[in-house]
Symmetry: C2
Subunit: 212 residues, 2 copies
């Protein structure tokens, strides 16, 4: 497989959603035009993105919805199930634990940890919040693949250092803290910044003539 940018991966996720929705509506084929339109892209972009992964669909016939969904799902690793730990049981952590879409796409939250004694022992959606002191044991016993970081910005790097230390060795981190974090080589980190998209709206309202 060639090197793929995260921008392409994000578009694959969006195609997957379009195909999933089409499948639920019992639509059997979708053209690159339709996939493009639903995602505010060009058909050329859709075809280019999919071409990285082989030849899908036949010219003039469009894509078979079920086949393409299965293929993109496999590329994105959505045909597997992933064990997830949530670090930080504040509002965002709680929202994620209750976020059904994670589970339905194979991201199974197995454990929640916090260092706040008032939160340890709380039960959120059938999960008991564990003390962060037990991080190593929790990560190992649940075979955690991905950690979701929902801690305050000033604590985030310290928790990342704990998660990626060799005796724990988490390889993928989704960071909700509004701060840029360093990880060792071979560890994947993605930042989810909930304030970024609302700033795109204040930009648009401030400069409506500049919006494409």
């Amino acid at each position: 497989m060639p090197k793929i940018s995260y921008a392409t991966v994000r578009r694959l996720s969006r195609y997957f959603r379009s195909l999933d929705l089409a499948e639920r509506r019992h639509i059997t084929t979708l053209s690159s035009d339709e996939l493009a339109k639903q995602n505010h892209l060009t058909a050329a972009q859709v075809r280019k993105d999919l071409s990285f992964f082989g030849a899908f669909g036949r010219r003039g016939l469009g894509y078979n919805v079920t086949d393409l969904k299965r293929n993109i799902g496999r590329i994105l690793g959505l045909d597997k199930s992933w064990n997830v730990a949530v670090i930080g049981a504040g509002n965002i952590g709680r929202a994620l634990i209750n976020f059904d879409q994670f589970r339905s796409q194979g991201f199974i939250i197995k454990t929640v940890l916090d260092n706040d004694p008032s939160k340890v022992g709380m039960v959120i959606a059938d999960l008991e919040v564990k003390d962060l002191k037990n991080l190593r044991g929790e990560i190992r016993s649940h075979g955690i693949d991905i950690a979701i970081l929902c801690v305050p910005a000033n604590a985030a790097q310290k928790v990342v250092d704990m998660l990626t230390a060799s005796e724990i060795g988490v390889k993928a981190i989704l960071n909700f803290a509004p701060v840029s974090l360093s990880v060792p080589d071979g560890v994947f980190i993605r930042n989810e910044n909930m304030a970024i998209e609302i700033e795109a709206l204040s930009f648009a309202l401030t400069n409506p003539e500049a919006v494409r």
Copy 2:
């Protein structure tokens, strides 16, 4: 101002964060190299992005942190305060209402609405959840600029249609529902999909050799 892509706007948001952090650390100048490095970009990209908005900084001297932060803040509309309505008082809605970063950047949540009788009347962070039936009055009396949609996917289009109807006329929507929505011309919508970034991680874990 020329047409600006949302990708550029998102990078401006990230520069703003870097500058804010530098200011808190009493750093007075930052080079395009440093801004680039903190955001995993090239210095050329940083300079190009900033060049859309005029000449900032002086060759060899870097950018004055406070000036550039103020300028980018103005471009992003962060020098104003925006009245925000949250539609849907479920877990995501509640997390957002408690998300301090919105308020600190000038996005003030003025009202929360839901159509679930068990939620109407609840108080979340000093805001009483209002009945969605009162949408028009709430939007008008609070002068709402931006609506944040935290409703289930199958209800989202209907709520968007209500928000953008001429007698209500909301011009900017941040959508957390995992569905693509149609809005009338002149209405700005941005989609926040919390599952997209975790899929980038399952992609990376599945295809480590393909990650740039």
